[in-house]
Amino acid sequence: MSLEDSIQVIDLGKKSYEEALDIQLHLLEKRRNNVEKDTLILVEHPPTITLGGDDKWNVVHASEKEIADKGIAFFKREEGKKWASRGGGAAYLGPGQIIGYAIMDITPYGINTFLRRLEEVMIRTARDFNIEVNRVDKMNPTTDKLYRATWYQKDGKYYVLCTKGIGVRAERERLFSHHGFALNVNNEKAFYELIDPCGFPKSEIEQISMQTILGKGLSLEEVKENIVKNFSEVFERIMEYGVCV
């Protein structure tokens, strides 16, 4: 399987993080064994907070019970539970958001280029709806390091419109990715009182969705189509819709 092969797109519709993780891990094993193509999963999750692989990045202000009381599922590394570490810190995922998981052999791209291209897909998708997001390096107070991310900026403020965080399995000479990105389309809630997304405190950033910026809700299907189109252009690969069995 090579770069000339198409990428299959699997639209899972609405599915829990746990179910989607199962599918991710399943596809990852198949991809590693070269019996599956590169895959882009698109999915919408019920309210969920997930943690990143590095606890230094994970800032959570509430107890698990408080989170559960708000009807939000909580997912962290636990003995006996399926888990796959991704980069970045605590993240809120929820209805109205489009989540993309890329299960790909990223050896030809390399980790940095792959991340930059994921960013580019988000930038172009936002631009398709006349929203400009920019790549800006911002000091992250939790890790005390410059943090490269894409921001929507208005009146000097930084807004999170899309996030990314991937896990990579480095295997001998090959790199396989999982997890990916999230784009805020129609979601209003962010629950930044419960977590510092990617380690940024609420005082420094705010959440925003395309709906809020444009003043009207968007069709998730239309945005997904744009994501797939941009994924194709940015990675210069043909995209094919597949079904998950």
């Binding site: 090579s2 064994n33 230094k56 280029t113 991340l115 965080g165 990579v168």
Partner: protein
């Protein structure tokens, strides 16, 4: 035997990583492929599996430590018995799910394949399987991976090679003897191989010239006012460490003209006889490098202002010259600009960067005596040569396109 596992090179630009979490501890018995450690780089957590089965003797770093590529992170005592001992596994693999069992079965089957243990070649079971499937003798494959490890690509390349070997009628060759003529009928000669970028350029140029019907339209543009604007911008942008040439302004003008004349931003799809009119504007700019001409592409150039174009151009040309450019940045162009005047010269007949439809060659800007309103003026004139594919459009359309570029660049204030 003790195996020292070094932090592997996980790709471009990543020289070090931070250990997020060890997934094994000293004394653990581990299996090949079992996740050893998680490392953090940028926004990726990289899980690194063990290349060997055995006992973990020593972890050289602890959680939170930064490790450089090539440093030994763990010592593993290899044991023959450990490979077969399926019971003594630690951590998350202890409770295998059915799915993991399935994979385990696959790898066991692969381990039993006769090739695997029979020789000393470095190749994973998967690569060996692929070789078996494609009927490739793995012993004949030269590995291009680290330490000569054979990669899937090596097998695929070999299979393509052996396929084309079979497809071509064999010419008689004597193994081991290569005759190179040092002279021809008229005298002594030297030979230089056509390789690397030179070879790619040769193939692309030949393809373009044999497919597209090249016609070149030539004219001059009065860039006196543009030169003043550029001087002003230059001073302003130098403070931001951005070097600005004429090209960003020309890109802007070209895009406006392309929007009015969309056939110049198209390509001909021969299989369907369709002209594909592209609704995006990716402008390639030819860069002269030591190895030959490379054309990095500024993607979405219509969405960028002069400053962004200047910055992109600077970064792309630098990475092209340093041979660090991402392959993706060399693809996807819709129109190309080539500066033929940097070394002198007025006009040229540029070859289209196929399958694009047109290419704009810029000559050297020179002070020139011009007659205006029956007076003599000294103006800065830029010659240009626009080559287009006559299959897609005619000279009239090309001339209108060229006139539009001229009009914009001669009245350039609106470009800012």
């Amino acid at each position: 035997m003790v195996f020292a596992f070094k932090f592997p090179d996980v790709g471009e630009g990543i020289h070090e990583g931070e250990i997020v979490k060890w997934l094994v501890k000293e004394g653990d018995i581990i299996k090949e492929d079992q996740p050893l450690v998680e490392m953090q780089t940028d926004k990726a957590v990289v899980e690194i599996p063990s290349p060997k089965s055995g006992k973990v003797l020593k972890l050289n770093f602890k959680n939170g430590d930064t490790v450089k590529v090539g440093e030994v992170i763990v010592l593993i005592e290899e044991k023959e018995s450990a490979k077969k001992d399926k019971g003594a596994v630690v951590g998350q693999l202890e409770e295998e799910t059915s799915e993991e069992k399935k994979i385990e079965k696959i790898s066991i089957r692969q381990n039993k394949s006769p090739d695997w243990s029979a020789d000393k070649l470095f190749a994973t079971p998967r690569v060996r399987n692929l070789a078996n499937k494609l009927n490739i003798d793995i012993n004949s494959v030269k590995g291009t991976g680290k330490n000569g490890i054979i990669l899937e690509d090596d097998i695929i390349k070999m299979s393509k090679k052996s396929f084309s070997d079979k497809a071509l009628p064999k010419t008689e060759s004597k193994p081991g003897i290569k005759v190179t003529k040092k002279y021809d009928f008229y005298g002594y000669v030297d030979r230089a191989p056509l390789s690397g970028i030179r070879k790619v350029i040769a193939e692309n140029m030949a393809r373009s010239y044999s497919k597209a019907v090249h016609v070149t339209h030539m004219d001059f543009i009065d860039v006196t006012r543009l030169a003043q604007i550029r001087e002003k911008e230059k001073g302003r942008l130098e403070k931001e460490n951005i070097k600005i040439t004429y090209i960003p302004f020309i890109i802007k003008a070209v895009i406006s003209a392309l929007k009015e004349h969309p056939y110049l931003n198209s390509s001909l799809e021969e299989e369907t006889n369709d002209i594909i009119l592209k609704k995006y504007y990716n402008i390639g700019v030819a860069v002269d490098t030591k190895e030959g001409l490379i054309v990095p592409v500024i993607k979405g150039a219509d969405k960028k202002d002069i400053k962004e174009l200047a910055r992109d151009l600077f970064n792309l040309s630098n990475s092209a010259r340093e041979r660090k450019i991402d392959l993706g940045d060399l693809k996807g162009g819709t129109f190309t600009i080539t500066n033929i005047g940097s070394l002198g010269g007025i006009f040229a007949t540029p070859i289209i960067n196929y399958p694009e439809c047109a290419i704009l060659g810029l000559g050297r800007i020179q002070d020139s005596v011009q007659a205006r309103n029956e007076e003599i003026h000294i103006r800065k004139m830029m010659p240009f040569s626009l080559t287009f594919d006559h299959r897609i459009l005619d000279g009239a359309e090309a001339a209108k396109f060229a006139n539009k570029i001229k009009e914009i660049l001669e009245n350039p204030d609106s470009l800012l």
